[in-house]
């Protein structure tokens, strides 16, 4: 098989890219602190046809010589400057109809979580704006459906308790964790039973410290125990808590590479 053949086959193939649905916890109302939270996600405004001017998921090209996760991480970083604590493959979309008008496109979509601290209060910068997950604008391509799938996946994965941890931060009170669960599922959840179930799971560790909020009794601060009894999930590549050393983005990326 000559080089010419290989080139021809490659030319016959669709373009490949990566996109990322990133979720973060944010305030509920535009009005003010209503106590409860909901999920927000950042979208970028397209600067090319098709769908120029419309909102779309952050994404980019596949980087040759890098894993898919690295490509997704890099794409996300270069468009939004976010460094997710959790990044997992969601699905690959490749229907010819999805790129209405454009070139055929296969998108490998990742799903990410960032803590509230990362989000810099949801202000719009450049062409990136945060939207509440239940009040999305019109979106380019099939991105609305992709987001709905990501939200569904986040709900079904919530039973693995470390997922909630990624949204709430390293240390948290049981009320905060409870708040995350309600934000993700959209359902009210009995706090008393939630507390018992979480503590019984053995995954929470008391830090010894307490946290005050208002004029009320201080709450115990917990930490998630990453150790021990491996979870029941299959070990596929996923970015979990990349140790970011002092902000340089290449460091964050290199931390993702095996070996």
């Amino acid at each position: 098989m000559g080089i010419g053949n290989v080139s021809e086959r490659r030319l016959a193939q669709p373009q490949i890219g990566v996109s990322v649905v990133i979720l973060a916890l944010g305030p509920h109302g535009d009005s003010e602190a209503s106590g409860h939270s909901r999920l927000w996600l950042p979208l970028v405004r397209r600067v090319k046809q098709p769908f120029m001017g419309a909102w779309a998921l952050p994404g980019g090209d596949l980087r040759v010589g890098h894993s898919l996760e690295e490509s997704a991480f890099k794409a996300l970083e270069s468009t939004t400057e976010l460094h997710p604590k959790y990044l997992e493959q969601l699905y690959t979309f490749g229907d010819p109809a999805r790129s209405s008008g454009g070139l055929p496109m296969v998108s490998i979509v990742y799903w990410a979580l960032v803590g509230e601290a990362e989000t810099k209060d949801f202000a719009e910068v450049d062409n990136v704006r945060w939207f509440p997950a239940d009040e999305l604008p019109d979106l380019a391509f099939d991105h609305r459906r992709i987001i709905e799938y990501a939200l569904w996946r986040s709900r079904s994965k919530l039973e693995y308790p470390d997922i909630a941890t990624k949204l709430v931060g390293e240390e948290f009170t049981l009320s905060q964790l409870h708040d995350v669960y309600e934000a993700v599922t959209g359902q009210p959840l009995d706090l008393a039973n939630f507390r018992r179930k979480m503590l019984a799971s053995g995954h929470l560790e008391d830090t010894g410290r307490k946290r005050h909020v208002g004029r009320s009794r201080p709450a115990t601060v917990y930490r998630y125990r990453h150790d021990g009894t491996a979870n029941e999930d299959f070990p596929l590549p996923a970015v979990v808590n990349p140790p970011r050393s002092a902000g340089r983005s290449d460091d964050a990326l290199s931390a993702l590479m095996p070996s």
Copy 2:
């Protein structure tokens, strides 16, 4: 952006292909009817470098103008002549290290189930041979890991009861269904409790007929009720019972196309 640019970007991208892990129920022992079953899967012998001569998952190129599911279905059909009743996307693998020695390769892997009737008693034809899922030979690339993931996925999806149905056929007795569960999980399962749980689920419908096997009491024959209360799975494209009209393969494919 001129055409030249587009070509260049495409050339920088890895090759894309589809692969399929197909599972079927088969006999347990080489010796003979030991009553119980286990999972089998077909592999094809590679006729190209790298890994020439090694066993690998069936697969093929992406077909332009066709959906990913269609490409997977076609690839499977042309290599093994199987027509899965269930075909669902599993995962996309794209690590540069996986194509050791070859060109960089992104594989969109699908996961399929076929009934025992489809398999023509597991005889080796051409370069296709069936292997028990727990006695695999050495495999090309990272295909062993991919199969392990598919097996894990089949176990975790078994709670959706229609999965078992795809392996056992349209109509079945509760013992047969029980046998599938034990084959997939590898665990023994109390038949009495299994029976009650299945019947209580409301998904099984009595056909009114009975089936005799040996010198024993005849068993009620059930059918899976596909109707009604939508399952809790997210509706992504998946091939479910493509109505094959009299064997011509193009018909099977066209049945997969939307609208």
